[in-house]
Amino acid sequence: MTFSGRISCGKEEHVKELKIGARIDNLDQVIAFVDENLEAADCSMKAQMQIDVAVEEIFVNIAQYAYTPKEGEAVIQLDTETVPGAAIITFIDSGIPFNPLAVEEPDVTLSAKDRKVGGLGIFMVRRSMDDVQYEYADNKNILTIKKNI
């Protein structure tokens, strides 16, 4: 059987990839992988921090929910070449299907008293990235963020 999907075909040469256990104690390694590659691409400090925040939110979400109560892997692909001046980061997991873009946004205009403590993560990702896309294909959650750097 031939299949032309990008997952089965693997990644292109210039795409950096990290396969890692989806566990919170791997967060530092994930951020280090992302920072190392963003620095190599001359990413601005501001964009790098926004990307770090987005990556943390997404990875932690996968670590906490995708495979519970079991454990699984997350694949993180980083591409700073396909689109000049932009970083494209893709998160792939084989956990339960979950579209974070379908989650209702929190009301960020409420006072401290009325603000809920949770629900901010994906909101921050959507606000700070230039593009966020989700698809479920081949039994995998594929979330792609794009940020101009």
């Binding site: 921090m49 943390e56 932690v60 008293k113 901010l120 921050m124």
Partner: protein
């Protein structure tokens, strides 16, 4: 890595943070706050050396703001521009007192 330095002066308590306030370090701050907030009327966060904050860190700030609304006031000092940007995006700049 997060370094927390506490300085108490009567009912005033200063928390100086250095490093990263993220998913792995936020529980550390939460625990220290839990132990220290009793009787505090003025809580001051010194953010000059804080380089990074994620939603896990924002959650801790929001719960301490809620707590301090009941017993006094909370102020955040010397916020770096990158972190201010995150406060703005999330509406936290309207909730928190930032000096």
């Amino acid at each position: 890595m997060l370094k927390i330095e506490q300085k108490a002066n009567g009912s005033e308590l200063v928390f100086a943070l250095e490093g990263r306030l993220d998913t792995t370090t936020a529980p550390q701050l939460e625990n220290e706050l839990k132990k220290s907030l009793s009787g505090v009327e003025s809580l001051i966060f010194e953010f000059e050396a804080l380089e990074y904050i994620s939603s896990a860190g924002l959650r801790v700030l929001l719960s301490s703001q809620k707590q301090m609304n009941k017993q006094g006031e909370m102020v955040i000092r010397n916020v770096r521009p990158e972190i201010m940007e995150i406060f703005d995006v999330t509406g936290f700049s309207d909730i928190l007192t930032i000096e």
